[in-house]
Assembly symmetry: C2
Homo-oligomer: 189 residues x 2
Amino acid sequence: MPSATEQKIIDAAVRLFAAQGYDATSVQEIVAAAEVTKGALYHYFRAKDDLLFEIYRLLITSQSADMDRIIGLGLPAAETVREILVSLVVSTAERVDETAVFVRELHRLGEERMAEFRAERRRYHETFLAVIEKGQADGEFSSVVPADTVGRIVFGVVNQLPMWYRPDGPKPPASLAGEIADFVLAGLR
Amino acid sequence: MPSATEQKIIDAAVRLFAAQGYDATSVQEIVAAAEVTKGALYHYFRAKDDLLFEIYRLLITSQSADMDRIIGLGLPAAETVREILVSLVVSTAERVDETAVFVRELHRLGEERMAEFRAERRRYHETFLAVIEKGQADGEFSSVVPADTVGRIVFGVVNQLPMWYRPDGPKPPASLAGEIADFVLAGLR
C-alpha cells in the first residue's frame, strides 16, 4: 500500500500524463499538482519512469491479489473464470486513466522496468491460463480452442478497453464485465 | 492502389517508424531509404502525418473491401462471420509492422486525419456489427450478449495483435485466425 504522500504524487502524475502526455510533463509540474516537495517525490521515485511503472505496479498488484483470492475460493472453473473476468474488467474500467497512460507510454520504460513489467504480466497471464487449462482437463470447458488463444481474446478486450471505455458512457462497468464473462464462458462450453 | 514509387515510400516509412519511432524519423531518412527524391515524396505526401495515415488507409481499405466481398456472397451469418474474422486476423498478422506503427503513433495524427480515421474505423465496425445483429435477429446467433460487446471482444484481440504477434512465432496466421473464429462462433451460439 502506498503512503498518503506517495498516493498524492501518483494521482497527480496520472492526471498530468493523461492530459498532456508523459514527455510533456515535468517533475516540477507533478510536485506542484501533488502539493508536495521535490524532496518528497525523489524519496519515493528516483526518476519519472519509476512513477510510470508504479502506476502499473499498483494496478497489477491489486488485480493479481484479486485473482489469487478468487482461485483460493476453490469454485468450479466456470465460476472462477467469471469472477476473475468481472473483477479484471471492473478494476480496469474504474482505473481507465491509469491504464490508458500506462499503455500509451509503455515504450518509455527503461530496460529493467520493462523486464519487470513483462514478468508481472506473464505471471498474471499464466495463472489465468492455468485456470482455463484445468477446466479443459476436467472436461468442464471445451478444448477446441487452446487456452493461449482464449487468453489472447480475454486480454485483448481488457487491454483495449482504455481506447474506447468512457466512465460516463451508457454501460456501467459491472454490466460490461458481465457481458464479457457471458461471452467468454459461452465460448468455453 | 498506390503507384510503385508511393509503395516504396510507404514501405521505407513503415520500416523506419517501426525501428526507431515516428518522431525520430526525418523525411530525409525516408527519402534516402526509399531511394526516391524529396520532390517525389512531397508529390504524394504533403507531410509526415499524411504518410502515417496512408499506412493505415491502405490497410483498412483492403480490409473493408474484403468484408464487403464476403458479405456479398450471401452466406449464412456463421460462415460470414468466420470468413470476415479469418480475413481480418490474417491480414492484420501479415501486416503486423504497419499496424504496430499505426497503433503506437495514432495520437500523432492531426485533427482532420484523426476524424477521417475514426470515420473509416466506425464504418468497418458498424458493418461487422450489422452482420452479428442480423444473425441475432434471425435466431442463428444467441442474443444474450449484445452485438456491441461482441464487437469489442473481436476488435480487442485484433487490435492487440501487434503487441504480441511475431511472424516467426509457432502459430501461422491462418491457424490463429481459425482458433479465434472458432471461439467467437462458439460464443455466439
